[in-house]
């Protein structure tokens, strides 16, 4: 463990924490442009979080301690996840502790605590949101695991940085299996981050909401943490996508500060393009009925398994 590795690790976590709201703001801005609305400021998510931190928290009388600690657990899980994902460099000291399967477990922990907290107060909406979240989660998680397995099979390891390093340094080749799983991953990303075909992040329309329904009881610093964690989750998913499907430009191997510095603008470019793409998907697709969600996620799972099978058959 060299100084450079520790530096990379710290830089990645700080960058994720700092840039996540900016990424969310960028997606919202792109969406507004595409929908011919006047765009909100890029810094709006930061202002929202700052405003919420300055308020006094109001907590329901029936809330248990779980309700109070859930935001910290969710935020903590997302921050640790950000530490495992190789967004800038692949030599991360923390990765020996957790591989890609543990990463999926971390995301699941966050989901479970969020749902428990939503059901804790006992309002109808919280329970509704939590149940829907669990439904989406239990269908999306196997698909995400399958996506990771395909990349693991190709590079013969489940550690995410090692996968990225292998994919980034090998001779360029066409991988139909990775193309399938990339589509599957995009579908999982949309579902897990409450984006449009599954959930509308911009509405409180009560009958259709999933993510927002779980946050209704939260206020002030708890809500700020939850919203920050949601932004961080989107950022993390985008970085997992880069790590698996566009790994080029991440600093691999050598202990050179130059490579690390060069990876920062590249990450920014990738994020800008991913945000614009996400906004485009959200603009051109209509929200699905909740009962159609399993079909959507079955398709994602199917694509991921097809990728796996195609890889096993064709070695490609």
């Amino acid at each position: 463990m060299t100084l450079m590795e520790i530096l990379t690790q710290v830089l990645e976590v700080i960058a994720a924490l700092a840039a996540a709201p900016l990424f969310l703001g960028w997606v919202n801005q792109c969406r507004a442009w595409l929908q011919n609305r006047s765009a909100p400021s890029l810094w709006l998510p930061y202002r929202g979080i700052r405003k919420l931190f300055h308020k006094d928290a109001v907590i329901a009388e029936s809330a248990s301690p779980l309700f109070r600690i859930a935001p910290y657990i969710v935020f903590g899980a997302m921050a640790v996840a950000a530490a495992i994902i190789p967004s800038m460099g692949t030599r991360l000291p923390l990765t020996t502790a957790a591989d890609a399967i543990a990463l999926v477990g971390l995301l699941a922990t966050a989901r479970v605590f969020m749902s428990l907290a939503a059901m804790d107060v006992g309002t109808a909406f919280g329970t509704l949101g939590a149940r829907r979240e669990m439904m989406v989660g239990f269908l999306a998680e196997p698909a995400l695991l399958m996506v990771i397995f395909v990349a693991s099979l190709i590079s013969a390891t489940t550690a995410l940085p090692a996968i990225t390093e292998h994919l980034a340094t090998q001779a360029p080749a066409l991988y139909p299996s990775l193309a399938f799983t990339a589509i599957a991953f995009t579908m999982v990303l949309l579902a897990e981050n409450a984006r449009i075909p599954i959930d509308n992040p911009a509405t409180h329309l009560e009958l259709t909401m999933i993510h927002e329904a779980m946050l209704l009881e939260y206020s002030a610093r708890h809500l700020a943490l939850m919203e920050w964690a949601a932004a961080l989750k989107l950022f993390n998913y985008a970085c997992i996508g880069f790590a698996l499907f566009i790994p080029w430009g991440v600093s691999t191997g050598a202990d050179s500060p130059a490579a690390l510095l060069a990876s920062i603008p590249l990450l920014a470019v990738k994020l800008a393009m991913a945000g614009a793409g996400l906004a485009l998907i959200e603009t051109v697709s209509a929200k699905l009925r909740v009962f159609r969600v399993p079909e959507f996620l079955t398709a994602a799972f199917l694509l991921a398994v097809l990728g796996l099978l195609v890889h096993l058959l064709l070695r490609a």
Binding site: F180, E295, L302, V310, L314
Partner: protein, 223 residues
């Protein structure tokens, strides 16, 4: 990476993978117009794959079968089916016998089965594309499922044609295509089959006022 496969073989593999994906898309599709378009797309992929293989192996008869594929499966049959759809006014299949998610998962099991089935054949074959045999078998079996789970005669014909595409692809991957005379014969058979089935469609509709094959199950005349 142990061995790097040459680029044209990678492209062929990509075609094979996309063929499999298209079969699943057909399995999930409920609109008949889109189903026919997907069939045309499948034919187009087959055309590209045949061309690539012809170029790779230098077998001239594959160019002819590519041309045949283009003319028959990409242009003529889809055009014929579109015309039939317009004249018969069938745009949607009724709800399939199994729900979509269930069909998809059944399809996955079938793909695993097909890959297992094709393994010994692939081991015996000596062609560069022998790995794709499993995909061809899977396409055939998936088309079977398409035919089994649909009620409308039109979707069943599309399933039948897609099955023929799968067989063609299988022959191509296993032995670089059938002899020219066999290929012509099969092409003619398919053509005649679709023409005859087109006439059948009109007869079925005359008789039952619907293209739902469900009606054909009652054999007795109404008393």
């Amino acid at each position: 990476m142990a061995v790097t496969t040459p680029f044209d073989l990678q492209l062929l593999n990509l075609c094979a993978a996309l063929l499999l994906l298209l079969s699943f898309a057909m399995l999930a599709q409920r609109r008949i117009v889109t189903l026919v378009n997907l069939l045309a797309l499948q034919g187009g992929l087959l055309f590209v794959a045949t061309l690539l293989l012809a170029w790779r192996t230098g077998q001239h008869h594959l160019y002819f079968s590519a041309a045949l594929t283009l003319a028959l499966k990409v242009i003529f049959l889809p055009w014929l089916l579109h015309r039939l759809i317009r004249r018969l006014q069938v745009y949607w299949d009724t709800e399939p016998l199994l729900n979509i998610s269930g069909t998809m998962l059944a399809g996955l099991v079938v793909v695993v089965f097909a890959f297992g089935l094709a393994q010994p054949i692939s081991a015996l074959a000596s062609t560069a594309t022998r790995n794709s045999i499993g995909i061809a078998v899977a396409v055939v079996l998936l088309s079977f499922i398409t035919m089994i789970t649909r009620r409308k005669a039109m979707s069943q014909v599309v399933g039948f044609l897609s099955m023929e595409n799968g067989l063609f692809f299988g022959a191509m991957s296993a032995t670089y295509g059938m002899p020219m005379i066999v290929e012509f014969g099969v092409a003619l058979d398919v053509l005649v089959a679709v023409l005859v089935l087109g006439i059948f469609f009109f007869q079925i509709r005359e008789q039952f006022d619907s293209l739902d094959l469900h009606h054909l199950e009652s054999l007795k005349e109404e008393q």
